[in-house]
Amino acid sequence: MSEIIKVGIADINLVSPPDTIRTTGLGSCVGVILYDDGKRIAGMAHVMLPESALIKSSSINIGKFADTAVNALYDMLIKKGAAAKGIKAKIAGGAQMFQFSSGSEMMRIGPRNVESVKLHLNHLGIPLIASDVGGNSGRTIEFNPLNSQLIIKTVNKGTKII
């Protein structure tokens, strides 16, 4: 029996076959998947904000921020036995759910999350294999570590696989 591992908002988790990993209702948040298709292990984070550096809180939820989440996922995969050179990434999300005439920084949070995830993937030398980002639709995503497929569901645009 395979199970679907759930990743909540600002959450982070790992998966290996036959299980799949899923997060629902990504809006401006970005779903980051790091995987080693040789070793067939993967992890997913549901990132809310671009940077943890701006946060004054003493305890930081590592899944919440692009920088901490990408680094933590990478470390978790290495610990699980992934080969550093084999780790790849797929991402989805970063939409602008609401269109406003005034362009405050918070309104641009989706694109900023995407930029930050890409930047931190780049720092770690992780190749971004596929992405489905931007637009103004929410997404539900599910990754299968067996075939490295990411299934993306949206309300109005149906399902696609990257």
């Binding site: 990504l26 809310m48 919440k64 949070i109 929410g138 997404r139 539900t140 309300v155 109005n156």
Partner: protein, 210 residues
């Protein structure tokens, strides 16, 4: 945001804000639809980000929503949110019995405009009474609409809070058709920014440190 400083008196105050605000909005809705609309006792909860989407039937549940930012003395976010079939019914009634479809890109500009206007009126009346009650100066931003997954929509309202906390205080008021009280028609969510709580409590004479 230190939730330990918030006691039951503070929660009662927030509940009263929901009560008065949503009461005015429900009256406005009732007038618009020309039928009785009732509301439930508002619930005030300190909840995790995950739990908030459970309040509207789960993260993937498709809802019609109006969102606006509250600017002024106590900033925050406000949502008026309806299950999709309820929104279709509501807008159909408002547009003179027209059959309205909101999914699959079938909605017209007129429908969205009507949804925006409903949200504008309801959240405006909520906010006005909130402002009157507290004496705080609060203005709504231009409302924006979205028909999408509840999780994707609500998480947008959690961004300000998420920078300082993993929990949010949500003032949720569900409203119902008076004839079928068990059937929830929609929600008003008020999500004050973290720094707004002290201002709200101060304005009402119950500071947070006492």
């Amino acid at each position: 945001m230190d939730f330990t400083k918030i006691n039951h008196i503070h929660l009662d105050i927030l509940r009263e804000i929901g009560n008065i605000g949503a009461g005015h909005a429900a009256t406005a809705l009732s007038t618009m639809l020309n039928k009785a609309v009732d509301m439930k006792v508002p619930s005030v909860k300190v909840i995790s980000f995950e739990e908030i989407t459970e309040m509207v039937g789960g993260s993937e549940n498709i809802v019609a929503s109006v969102f606006l930012r509250i600017v002024g003395d106590a900033p925050g976010c406000m949502f008026f949110m309806l299950p999709i079939e309820q929104a279709e019914k509501l807008l159909g009634d408002l547009l003179g019995g027209e059959v309205v479809q909101l999914t699959e890109g079938l909605h017209s500009e007129m429908t969205i405009s009507a949804l925006q206007e409903v949200g504008n009126i309801l959240s405006g009346s909520y906010l006005t009474s909130f402002s009157d009650f507290t004496g705080l100066s609060l203005q709504p931003s231009v409302p924006a609409t979205s028909i999408d997954m509840a999780g994707a929509i609500l998480s947008f309202g959690l961004l300000e809070i998420s920078a300082v906390s993993d929990f949010a205080i949500v003032i949720d008021t569900a409203f119902t058709d008076i004839k079928r009280l068990d059937e929830v028609k929609g929600h008003f969510f008020l999500l004050p920014d973290p720094e707004s709580f002290a201002k709200i409590f101060n304005a009402l004479g119950v500071p947070m440190d006492e």
